[in-house]
Symmetry: none
């Protein structure tokens, strides 16, 4: 009853090479549930098209004149966050893959993959899902684990801190000096120093810079 007339996924394609762009457009237009509502040959032109068409999904290359696909994704994330982005590129390095994901891309397809994968990724994006090539998923998962285990590791030492020490540490993380911290917490500078000494001991660091870094990693700042 809800999907008796499945609304088509409205798609815009950004790709600088004319042949590739046109091929993509025609190929994707063949799908019953996809409607290509615009194309663009660079990032800036793509923005114009996107603003007018307000599509569901953007399929974009990374390497383009004027504005590359990742910057475009970043811009889109701020300006039109509802538009899902699928990256289609030849680049397979971690830097670009992670950058794209951080920028908000919800699909990442390699150009040497079969067209079905591109179609599936666009379709998934249209449904609010995400589709990455399995080899990419694996790398993202590894990085994910790396990012969040380090956080968990720091968690242990942070647990030793008292509430007051945590407050002081937060202030340190804001780059404040002892006197400032004292004024803000309505205690003497001496007390601040005591807390800081204790914090250093518990966190096993020797300077406020290091402490600030730990605080940052822990999300205190």
């Amino acid at each position: 009853m809800s999907d008796e007339t499945p609304r088509k996924v409205r798609l815009v394609i950004a790709e600088d090479e004319t042949i590739t762009r046109e091929m993509l457009a025609r190929l994707l237009a063949l799908e019953d549930d996809i409607e290509v509502v615009g194309t663009a040959s660079d990032g800036v032109k793509a923005l114009t098209v996107l603003r007018h068409q307000k599509p569901d999904v953007l399929l974009t290359d990374i390497n383009m004149p004027q504005m590359n696909g990742i910057d475009l994704t970043n811009t889109l994330r701020r300006e039109m966050p509802d538009i899902k982005v699928v990256i289609l590129t030849i680049y397979n390095d971690d830097d670009r893959v992670f950058a794209a994901i951080k920028a908000g891309a919800r699909g990442y397809v390699l150009k040497d993959s079969p067209p079905e994968e591109t179609i599936a990724a666009v379709r998934a994006a249209g449904k609010g899902e995400a589709l990455l090539h399995p080899s990419l998923v694996s790398r993202v998962l590894s990085e994910f684990g790396r990012l969040s285990t380090q956080k968990a590791a720091d968690n242990a030492v942070f647990a030793e801190l008292t509430d007051r020490e945590r407050e002081v540490l937060t202030e340190i993380g804001k780059g404040r000096r002892n006197k400032e911290i004292a004024d803000r917490l309505f205690i003497s500078e001496k007390t601040v120093k005591n807390h800081i000494s204790n914090i250093f001991a518990k966190l096993e660091v020797n300077s406020r810079a290091e402490a600030a870094l730990l605080a940052a990693r822990q999300g205190l700042v």
Copy 2:
């Protein structure tokens, strides 16, 4: 030439419900490229089987007696890191999904998904790839972005830094003092101070703690 005799994926299944376990074993054994070399009804027994069989992939439930699937994955990661883990469960909440991934799982299939998905996940794991349900991928990507964001924001100011200043900033981010930095970079402490002054000015901060934080957000540390 390399895949004339594709080696079968050796699989162990851990699942406490007998019916489900047997069904899974028989279903997966039907695949030409999968060989079920063992089953277990709880986490502890699974460990024993795994130690003997050294399979390529473990397909495991989360909710099991003795030892649950996530703890099992964690143990496996330390003891036999080569064994890929695919989680098969009814749980779909972020906590468990993320916990499983942090533990090192490289596949996560929901029990209400079609069997093909389980098969595909096992197959992907066997190839060192990862397969998650698209809706899970989407959530992992979001969390991933959340964990490692901000960055690009400060890019502008960082661009002003010279290479040498960036080096010095990196050292600051490690909590080193001026003299240490000087020794490491083979320059005088005075020069370090100069660089630091310039860094502060360019980053518009007043202390090394703040500078360290920016460096951290920028990924310099």
